[in-house]
Amino acid sequence: MTKLTYAQLLETNNIIQVLGEETYFLCVTRTVQESKLFPVSSYMLLSYLNAFYRYPTLLRKIEKHMPAEMIADRVRNMCSKIQSIGMGWCMIGFYLLGREMLINMGMIRPQDAAEDVAYVMNFWKRYQLAWHRNDGHITNKEAGHRSQILPERRIQVFHADMYACKDGDALHTAADKFLATVSQYAFLVACESRISMSNHGPYNLGDGREMLVRDFFDLAEGDLPWLDGVASEVPFNRLTVTTAVKDTHFYLVDDWGSFDSRPEYKGENMCGVGLYTSDELSETHTPVGMGSREELTETFDRYADIFKDATTKLWKRIAGYSRNQMLDAGALTYYAIIKDLAHVAGCYEVDDWMKFDERAERFRGLLNDEYGNELLGALVVPLTLPSHQCNEYTMMQHSNAPKRVHSPISYSILAGEDYVPSVGDGIRPGVTYLPPKADRYRTTQGVMTLAEFNQRCKNFTPQLCTEKFRHLDETWVKFHYKTPLADEMYKIEQQTSRKLAGKGAGLSRADVAALADKF
């Protein structure tokens, strides 16, 4: 008899359906990305298969250490890969695309692994609701393609501490160059994908200005074996660039973390900028080079040179890779997009995240460029595989075609139709063609071994995530901002702020604007 209830199945199928519709929208409105360097489509397919076979086990392992919603509460206060792109779409997108591949290969039925599917969707739902706690939604899509994640206390610090800049001045020029260089490096680190960067916002700064928060991750020596050595000079693994933009409305920030604006975004409209780092071991965002305008300009210039040098070294390394190594690097980048869940929980293991389970690996021989491109296309647009077809009366959202992206689980299993609940306990042996990962992990607390990193993550709870403060949300602040407890909470956030240190909870946006640089 199934362990699943009707309510659980209804909820699971709802998540599957909504995700599929958004997948179609994102793929239709974004470009297909091929590459002459990486076998992109093929590595994506390999990552999907690995996700299907491994995510259920690894998510259950993570939740033995920390529940999904608590991880999200931690991540709301830091730069991490497990935000819009990583969790908002990729986690269940990859998992379900792997499942759909196997259904169309005849390897599984839609009801097989039903309990795994229900668990993965439920983990995602709890995480997303907590991550989106401040805007009250489950995805950016549901929020009208907005991503307003941060609490007021953090937005105020970002707002107050930005340095004003204008097109042509030294800071603007340096910030432009830095953003170009780090974006290019991030594309290369992520093997031609966008998943080493994401954006959230917009946040309304007033006077026709909006703030977009731009996050970059996996920049230094850390989880990705291909960065060992070549990224040794990169000073931080994660960087956050806060940008104020004038006369530009970001009308869309989607679950891939990309944005659209009216009028079209132009760098010349950037009028304020800041730079931060953070990770599992930091209290909150730590300013980088923010002591003065000159220091920030010099920092952007210096970091641009560092990332340029790292780009050249990394490109030379990758250009010397075999196809299997390129396939591995790309597929591991994708599959492991949720690996930071394990870091927050302090249970990250290289073999869990940087290897291909033998159950996925057996399909590698099929993943030539053409099959990769054709199958990836068929899976998302135009949906030509047998599992996508529905009855002729169906009018799919966005296309009106009688199709759907992902197969639901039939409710017939509640009436006794047989199914197999799980792909099985535990992960199976993994393989990779890449060199062994060096045991060096750059964090905000310095370079350390993985064992030390895990131990420190287990031992460290940011003050703002302790039980004393964790549930003191924006609604509580609205009615308690004059209390000592609210002041204490805001002052923790403000402790490294050049403008707001010690100011407490009573500031309005106008108060902050009065203290900030004049944009």
């Binding site: 990305q33 590459s35 170009a180 974006s183 390129m326």
Partner: protein
């Protein structure tokens, strides 16, 4: 032979493209065969016996059979055809210094030379409108070897790179040195479009060109309008021109 659950599908209308049909149909045959061999109990098979019966070796046989039929794959990444030239269709113009190669797009708009000797040889989507057109020397970049050569020897001055890869990684270490870019694929929102915009390098994406060879002097009408998101969503053409200048005598 065993029937699979997915063999009975009221709405299915085929497997898809030829390569998907070939591989997925063969995989289903393999599953049927191995299910039979295992005794026919699906629940014991799917996440149990199948792990040892559907092996990488069995899957490789499917691929071998397709190649033995004479089929050759279309390649995307250069590494694929370099490692397995026997498995992929040849890709013209990828060898270094391919002086006789040019992209030939059937929808390239061409026109005879104007009074100043500019011959229109195509069009593309402008990433960013800039004050003046850009003029430079056409050079094709289609492989890592070509990029490595420029990385070692430097990109020649005034290079307008012609690329069919809308990604941002193939030319990553030398992109900053280009005077302009013509990309035969993608949109202004592709990775290459994003990066050229950030670097301030004039660029046309989704370009359809014809008769532009290595060393030709080309001019990009990047002083023209940039293509908007709305234009892409509505399918509205919004292109600027590419000219080849008459060779100096």
């Amino acid at each position: 032979m065993a029937k699979l659950f997915v063999d009975q599908d009221k709405y299915a209308d085929g497997e898809g493209s030829p390569i998907i049909a070939a591989f997925n149909s063969a995989l289903k045959d393999l599953v049927r065969k191995k299910l039979d061999e295992s005794g026919g109990n699906w629940n014991d098979f799917v996440f149990g016996k199948a792990y040892s019966l559907i092996t990488a070796e069995e899957v490789a046989k499917i691929e071998r059979k397709v190649l033995d039929s004479g089929y050759r794959y279309t390649c995307s990444a250069m590494i694929s055809i370099m490692e397995r030239p026997d498995a992929y269709k040849p890709l013209p113009g990828t060898e270094s210094g391919a002086a006789k190669f040019s992209f030939e797009h059937p929808e390239a708009q061409t026109a005879p030379a104007d009074a100043s000797g500019r011959e229109q040889r195509g069009q593309g989507d402008n990433v960013v409108k800039v004050p003046a057109n850009v003029i430079g020397i056409a050079r094709y970049y289609r492989s890592a070897d070509q990029v490595m050569q420029s990385l070692t020897q430097g990109v020649p001055p005034d290079t307008i790179a012609i690329i069919d890869d809308s990604g941002g990684t193939l030319t990553a270490p030398i992109l900053e040195q280009f005077k302009g870019v013509i990309c035969a694929g993608g949109t202004v929102r592709s990775h290459l479009g994003i990066l050229t915009r950030e670097y301030g390098i004039p660029c046309l994406m989704g370009a359809k060109i014809s008769g532009i060879f290595e060393g030709d002097t080309v001019e990009l009408e990047v002083s023209g309008q940039s293509k908007t998101t709305e234009a892409y969503q509505k399918g509205v053409e919004m292109t600027v021109r590419v000219w080849k200048h008459a060779a100096k005598k």
